[in-house]
Amino acid sequence: MKRLAPWLLLTLLLAGSAFAATPLPPDSVYQFNVTLTDQDGHAQPLAARRGKVQLVSMIYTSCTMVCPMIVDTMKLTRKAVADPSRDKLALLAVSFDPARDNVDALRNYAATRKLDMRYWTLARTVPKDARALAALFGLQYRQLPDGDFNHSSELILLDTDGRIAARTTVIGRVDPVFVAAVDKALAPH
């Protein structure tokens, strides 16, 4: 068994490049061709996030009600994950308010909310794709005449291949069942 360990390590190291060669599972959200632009203005396809276990939600940065709690709950959930694997967990919040959430707004939000950008990504996309992303993740939002939004508040867990592994509507505190699912997704196979 011990002799296998270097091979396992090598496999893990190569995993990043190996992903490119393996076809996506048919039920992967990475089947959807959409470009995300992050808080630094970097644009890349959603599928470039393949290989990371991550928590995903959709927010808008001028939101004063539940969105800050969504972000807090993502932080809390990450904190609740078992220590050694926590570093492998990425957090992604996509805006459904592309009209106001430009790159500057995302960067300011990251600073104001003191998000650790080693594992956080804030992203925007074009309006058409924001609607389709919400459809893909099973989230709902609706803009009101005053510019605010009604929206569903959920955290979604994506496995390394972009399959939705779990979701929770528990916001404002840690959902133990959801944390268990995150631990499981992060556990070495």
Binding site: R131, S152, T169
Partner: protein, 258 residues
């Protein structure tokens, strides 16, 4: 082969072949009292001028689309874009069989409908655009106060869903648009924006954390329950869902005059 058989075949080929470019009718838009107030209370919807496809997309048109875009064939579509029932009423992924060419296509997901509309340089209409268009009758842009309009809309809902779908091409309304009420349910772009739970009275309570923002969307015009039923139906769907009676049509922005 006898002459009549040949002519049936040729007719079939004509109907199934790439259709002539779809027609879009201009609608002026404006301020519209929706059953879903824009602010969740009483504000009317503001609708920019737009164009709406005069008829729902048919089986023949969708067949031509999947032939040109095989990733949308029933045997190739990724399950993240459509459920297992997608196009299963066709004889094969590239053959209609008993599904008639001029019947509206159904068992299509929201993603497939969006992709089709993009192939016509169009998009799905928003809920407000659809509701506004469907308020018309042959003479008026908004016939909803007329009991005859309501009666006609409701009649469709009472028709058993096991009956075969009629062909598209009903009588045009005042805008020149056909078949909005009485043929199929239709996808809208923002089906996932309607936010009506199975019991909207609950939205202040149990769902308060699930839905942020103004929270409760109160529904107006309660006597117009045919439209409310449509909203409930759309809200209950996921983007991959396909149903026996859910079809779609597309919309475009108003034509820019030179």
């Amino acid at each position: 082969m006898r002459a009549w058989q040949l002519s049936v075949l040729m007719l079939g080929a004509l109907l199934a072949g790439p259709a002539v470019a779809a027609e879009y009718a201009p609608l002026p838009g404006g301020t519209f009292t929706s059953v879903l107030p824009a602010d969740g209370k009483a504000a009317p919807a503001k609708i920019a001028p737009f164009r709406l496809r005069t008829e729902p997309v048919t089986n023949a048109e969708f067949l031509a689309f999947v032939k040109a875009h095989p990733q949308w064939r029933g045997d190739q579509v990724a399950p993240v874009f459509a459920d297992r029932r997608y196009l299963t009423h066709w004889a094969a992924p590239d053959a209609l069989g008993d599904a008639l060419p001029q019947q509206p296509v159904t068992r299509v997901s929201w993603f497939a409908a969006q992709a089709y509309c993009e192939s016509e340089q169009a998009r799905l209409p928003t809920w407000y655009e659809w509701e506004y268009a469907a308020a018309a009758d042959a003479h008026r842009a908004d016939a909803r106060r007329d009991p005859a309009w309501r009666e006609r809309v409701l009649q469709w809902y009472s028709r058993p869903s096991s009956q075969p779908l009629p062909a598209v091409g009903g009588a045009p309304d005042v805008h020149g648009v056909r078949d909005l009420n009485g043929v199929v349910w239709e996808w809208v772009d923002d089906f996932n924006a309607l936010l009506v739970g199975s019991d909207s009275r609950d939205q202040d309570g149990a769902d308060k954390m699930k839905f942020c923002g103004a929270g409760a969307v109160s529904m107006q015009e309660k006597e117009n329950y045919a439209t409310l039923m449509r909203i409930a139906m759309l809200s209950a769907l996921k983007a991959v869902d396909t149903t026996n009676n859910m079809g779609f049509r597309c919309a475009k922005p108003a034509e820019v005059l030179p």
